[in-house]
């Protein structure tokens, strides 16, 4: 399986807004549920160092975790295990639920994203944005080339 989220390291910095937006707007979760789910996600994804890792870290003066993460980043294209995050997101949003789909009335959701292969900000939306004026600052990621984005991928 090709992991959609390659640079998971940067997930820690930027993914939260997207997850919260989708939880509130698409899943229509109450704010309290979003809080518990986000804590749960963080605990599962960001593994805590075990005893051996702590000892190694002490011996190397704190360098071990950095070297370990760098090596993992090179091997997995990410500092953390993307498979576990994918699994959590699929459980939360459904593995097949598409971003653009018929939905009950509610707020629209838009997500800013980046594509490593394209030097421009991407915008993922739950609504049809094809008729809006094209902006030079971003491009809209619809069902491009027949590829339908799923909610968990966003």
């Amino acid at each position: 399986m090709c992991h959609k989220i390659r640079a998971l390291h940067s997930v820690t910095d930027s993914l939260a807004g997207g997850i919260i937006a989708l939880s509130l707007g698409v899943n229509k979760w109450p704010v309290s549920k979003c809080q518990t789910q986000l804590v749960d996600l963080a605990q599962k994804v960001f593994e805590t160092p075990d005893g051996i890792a702590k000892t190694l870290s002490d011996w190397t003066g704190g360098w071990y975790p950095l070297v370990y993460k760098a090596a993992k980043f090179m091997m997995n294209s990410g500092a953390y295990d993307s498979a576990s995050l994918e699994k959590i997101l699929q459980d939360a949003f459904g593995s097949e639920t598409e971003l653009i789909a018929p939905r009950a009335p509610g707020p629209k959701v838009a997500l800013t994203a980046t594509d490593a292969s394209f030097p421009m900000c991407e915008l993922l939306t739950t609504y049809n944005k094809s008729g809006h004026e094209a902006e030079e600052t971003y491009r809209w990621f619809g069902n491009r080339g027949g590829h339908r984005i799923r909610v968990w991928e966003a």
Binding site: C2, A16, G17, P105, P107, N128
Partner: protein, 469 residues
Amino acid sequence: MTGIQTSLFKSVATIVVAGNPLDDKYIGELEKPLENQNVTIVCRNPEDLKPREDGEICKMIQADHLLSDAVCFVGSDLSEVVDPYLDWISACGGDFAIEKNKPFAYACVTHSYTNRQQARDDFLYACLENQKASNMSRSELVDDAFQDLEILGPSKFCELEATLRRAANIGRLQREAVGKLWSPAEFRSIRAHLTRRTSRETLYPFSIASAITEEWTCFDGGNSFRRVLFEGSGLKSPTNDCILLTASYLSHHAQQSRHWTSKSDEIRRVANKKTHFAESHFDCRYKEAIELMIKSTFPAMTEKDVDVNVSKLRKSFRSLTANASADSSFSKHVARIKSHEISVRGKDFGYSCATCLVNQWDSLLPCVQHGMCHACLQQCKDYCYNTCTVSMRKCHICDREFHEWKAQLIPSSARGSILALDGGGVRGLIQLEILSCIEDEIGLGLPLMRFFDLIVGTSIGVSQNPSSP
């Protein structure tokens, strides 16, 4: 108090409320588009009429002037509406007023006049006395910008709405009698004038002006028409079904801007044996694009065959447009799609509204293949829960039935509430805590999301190339 509503309309009335005879809530009620589809009412503030410091006149007011059937100046008494009336003339009179498209002016006041002619004379006299009309003659006061001026004195302001609608419909009928076929060049010039932004003025993207002056190929370059109606048949020329359906879609589009069509032209045609108004309309607005579309879809077709097909389409368009009224045209159009569904079933509508093929869809139907724009949903609804929530039980393209599918219609004048959520990993908990506090502060026990129209969040996004597996 400044807002604008668009829908499929027959008449447009602009009102300018001087003084403070009405509260804002009542103005908001007047602007509601969904319950009153016959007349679109636009509310303007007297401040909008005054020239700006840089000498620019509000372009929105000029657009209102060109595209409204009636302009109503509302006040407690006639002296209150003198200033906005003169400001309007100075903004839109003279060269800017197109002879055959001047709106009718109405001064609506709470005071009821038994002798309206006398009230009109008094009003014009008060205008002449005003320094803003220093160089104007009595006839110029009316003729410069308007077809005519009438004083309306509803005994109660609760009758204002009915008065406005009546005024707009009368204005519409009277303007129909003089009629005018706008050319695409004229529309382009109006749009160019309106969209030339100044530093202080931002135009609404879906204003009345843009709805009325919209060119047919403005969205998607007509690709949706080609994709749905012409392509994929494997034939060397469009079938009769395709021709009729295309004519139906075009006539549906033509109904949206009343300036293009006029029933009275049929009367003139019979009398003068000149070209039918609808045919001129077709030539003016659609012919060139349709020719290009047919040529590019069927490259092997000879010029003569292209002309034959365009001529068939023109004839169908004429018969559909001549017999259509704004009330029944939509239902007839939907019935035609149903009766020719074999031609469109299974076709890729993309992001276009399946009913009009011009707008992009706003709500995707549960059949997932077809979506509808708000304007078409508004007319096609099976049930209306309230002014903004409608439901449909069936897709009229693929006939798939739904259970309790609802859509939210958002008036174009509604100001959106946007919730922006930043990234920050576990720091996202902080913004959730803030949202929780806001929810408690509101104290209505409703989910916070009920108060937002759009939620924007920072995501890592999809870094996979869509073409790869």
